[in-house]
């Protein structure tokens, strides 16, 4: 199980990596989405907002989200560090989502692009 701080650090890094990559920024350009990341074994979740090609993260739920991602804190932390493939975790039923498949697809695409950027050398 990851702690609240560990999960927050993972999401912060995810957002930082997203902003570093021109391809990820380009992929965010046409996407506005409020995501609620809920670790089922922690007290509090996070809101990841994508708007105007920028991603921001806040503690708790700020407004009604377009997408909810639920899962154990350990798996969520691994996903946001790009150490684990979100699609496999989702297909195994470990991570659950609520929202439109377009948003799920875009979030997964964002993870893939960040991963590719991190390992392109």
């Amino acid at each position: 199980m990851a702690t609240y701080e560990e999960l927050r650090e993972a999401i912060n890094d995810y957002v930082e990596q997203a902003h570093k990559s021109a391809r990820v920024t380009r992929s965010l350009r046409h996407w506005n989405c409020v995501m609620y990341i809920q670790a089922v074994d922690l007290e509090q979740g996070f809101t990841l907002t994508v708007r105007d090609s920028r991603a921001t993260v806040q503690d708790g739920s700020c407004e009604k989200p377009d997408l909810i991602v639920r899962g154990p804190s350990e798996d969520l932390a691994n996903i946001f560090w790009c150490d684990v493939n979100p699609t496999s975790t989702y297909m195994q039923g470990v991570i659950k989502t609520q929202g439109s498949p377009e948003n799920v697809m875009r979030l997964d695409a964002m993870s893939m692009l960040i991963f590719l950027e991190l390992h392109k050398e």
Binding site: Y36, P65, D66, D83, N85, T87, S88, Y90, M91
Partner: protein, 471 residues
């Protein structure tokens, strides 16, 4: 613990119904209805359709319980994975994917033929229209254009209104008088074959289950499927009765026509009927292309991300986050099948193979229900079929028999007995060989790549087997 958070936007019940109805209402369904009418005497085709509709309820019940257990967009893939194993799940899901491609191919062929017929163009214009339509659908999908929500509802309900209205007008021409409405009961062998095709007419209604991630109450999914089956029975039933009432459905000219719906429109309302039926056919294509492309391309993308398809299929259009290679591959596959059908004029094989594939899926759904009840007896289910194992067992038995009936295809003119069986076996053989021989290699390559990757998470920076990064 976490306070409950609800989605800003959830789908309404009317959209659940329209999705289930729209995905099942394909142009190939109209041709299948005329095939059913041509197999049975008089105006008795309603019997086959009603039986098929009631049998589809068995499958709907099984899917409702499975969806209640796993309300996920992964749907069939996840049910079969949990109930059996990954290989079984992949073999069946790849077969299922082919049903989607067959329907897209069939619809492009039918719509291309309908446009050619409506404008009085020469026959060679059909393949041009087929390619143009598929190109248009591909372009729209690559740009992430999708008909959803209210527009989808309007399209589906307008489609139903058009089909029902034209059918009623056609039936009124003979004062709603039916000829030998119970004749099918005297020919049980033909009735069974007709019911087998009828199963294909309703197929696709279950593709609504992935919507369970977009609604507030997943109990709306079973309700939506049952309402959709009722609407489909009314629309298809009236269309079939109208066709058998007004057209010489037993003649090869109608039974083998790729545009019997246009012939019905013309017989009922003349040129106006032709235009109305063209609009109806275009609506069916819009729904098929809209739902089919999105579902199938996302499946291909997810399969590539899971290392069960080559990484190429996970390639994205960055701007629209659309799996571009998957969309192009689907278009090319559908175009090849549609052009083959155009050249051979053998659309009946598409209907029969589609019927067998759907029967296999429904049998598998029944097996999954029984297996998961044993494996996960205490898991929470918001929907559980009453009557113990009766319904899943009935589903396995009935769809198994209907699958055999469709696979053997006795009495289908111009088609060798057993041809659909050979094609279906070939599909599953290829799928099984791919899953057993190619997928392990893809996974081994991906595992080697993972082993060379250092973990980024602080405190866990080693490379390891549990690391399953993106591509």
């Amino acid at each position: 613990m976490n306070t409950p958070v609800s989605l800003r936007r959830v789908l309404k019940f009317r959209t659940v119904i329209s999705t289930s109805t729209g995905l099942a209402f394909a142009a190939i369904g109209l041709l299948s209805c005329v095939q059913i009418a041509s197999m049975l005497g008089g105006d008795s085709s309603w019997i086959a359709l009603t039986i098929a509709g009631l049998l589809a309820v068995l499958a709907a019940l099984c899917f409702s319980e499975l969806n209640a257990l796993y309300p996920s967009a992964a749907a069939v893939r996840q049910y079969m994975n949990e109930a059996f194993n990954e290989n079984f799940s992949l073999i069946i899901t790849f077969g299922y994917l082919l049903t989607v491609i067959l329907v897209i191919a069939a619809d492009s062929y039918i719509v291309g033929s309908a446009i050619t017929y409506a404008f009085g163009l020469p026959d060679w214009a059909s393949p041009i229209w087929i390619l143009a339509l598929l190109g248009l659908a591909m372009g729209a999908n690559l740009r992430g254009i999708k008909i959803a929500g209210l527009l989808q509802d309007i399209t589906t309900y307008a489609l139903l209104v058009f089909v029902i209205s034209i059918s009623l007008i056609a039936l009124s021409q003979h004062g709603f008088q039916l000829r030998m409405p119970f004749d099918a009961l005297n020919h049980p062998d033909a009735l069974i074959s007709a019911v087998a095709i009828g199963v294909f007419v309703f197929s696709g209604f279950e593709w609504v289950t992935p919507l369970s991630e977009e609604i507030a109450d997943i109990r709306l999914i079973p309700r939506g499927m049952f309402v959709a089956l009722g609407l489909l029975l009314i629309a298809y039933g009236l269309f079939t009765e109208a066709a058998s009432n007004l057209l010489p459905v037993h003649t090869p000219a109608v039974a083998n026509s790729p545009v019997p719906q246009m012939l019905l429109g013309k017989a009922a309302l003349g040129q106006v009927g032709i235009w109305l039926m063209l609009i109806t056919t275009l609506f069916t294509a819009v729904m098929t292309f809209n739902g089919g492309f999105a579902t199938a391309s996302r499946f291909l993308y997810a399969a590539a991300r899971e290392d069960t398809l080559p990484p190429l299929f996970a390639r994205l259009s960055i701007r629209y986050a659309v799996p571009s290679v998957a969309v192009i591959a689907l278009t090319v596959s559908s175009a090849i099948i549609a052009l083959l059908v155009f050249l051979t004029r053998q659309f009946q094989i598409l209907i029969l193979v589609g019927a067998v594939l759907e029967a296999v899926i429904y049998v598998a759904a029944g097996l999954c229900v029984l297996r998961l009840r044993r494996r996960k007896p205490d898991a929470e289910r918001t929907f559980r079929i009453k009557g113990g194992a009766l319904i899943p067992l009935l589903s396995i038995l009935v769809f198994g028999l209907l699958g055999v009936a469709a696979a053997l295809a006795p009495g289908t003119p111009g088609l060798m007995i057993g041809a659909p069986l050979i094609v279906t076996l070939a599909i599953f053989l290829v799928s099984a060989l791919y899953v057993l021989l190619v997928v392990p290699r893809l996974r081994a390559t991906a595992a080697a790549r993972r082993a060379a990757t250092r973990r980024r998470r602080p405190g866990r920076e080693t490379s390891g087997e549990e690391v399953t990064p993106g591509l």
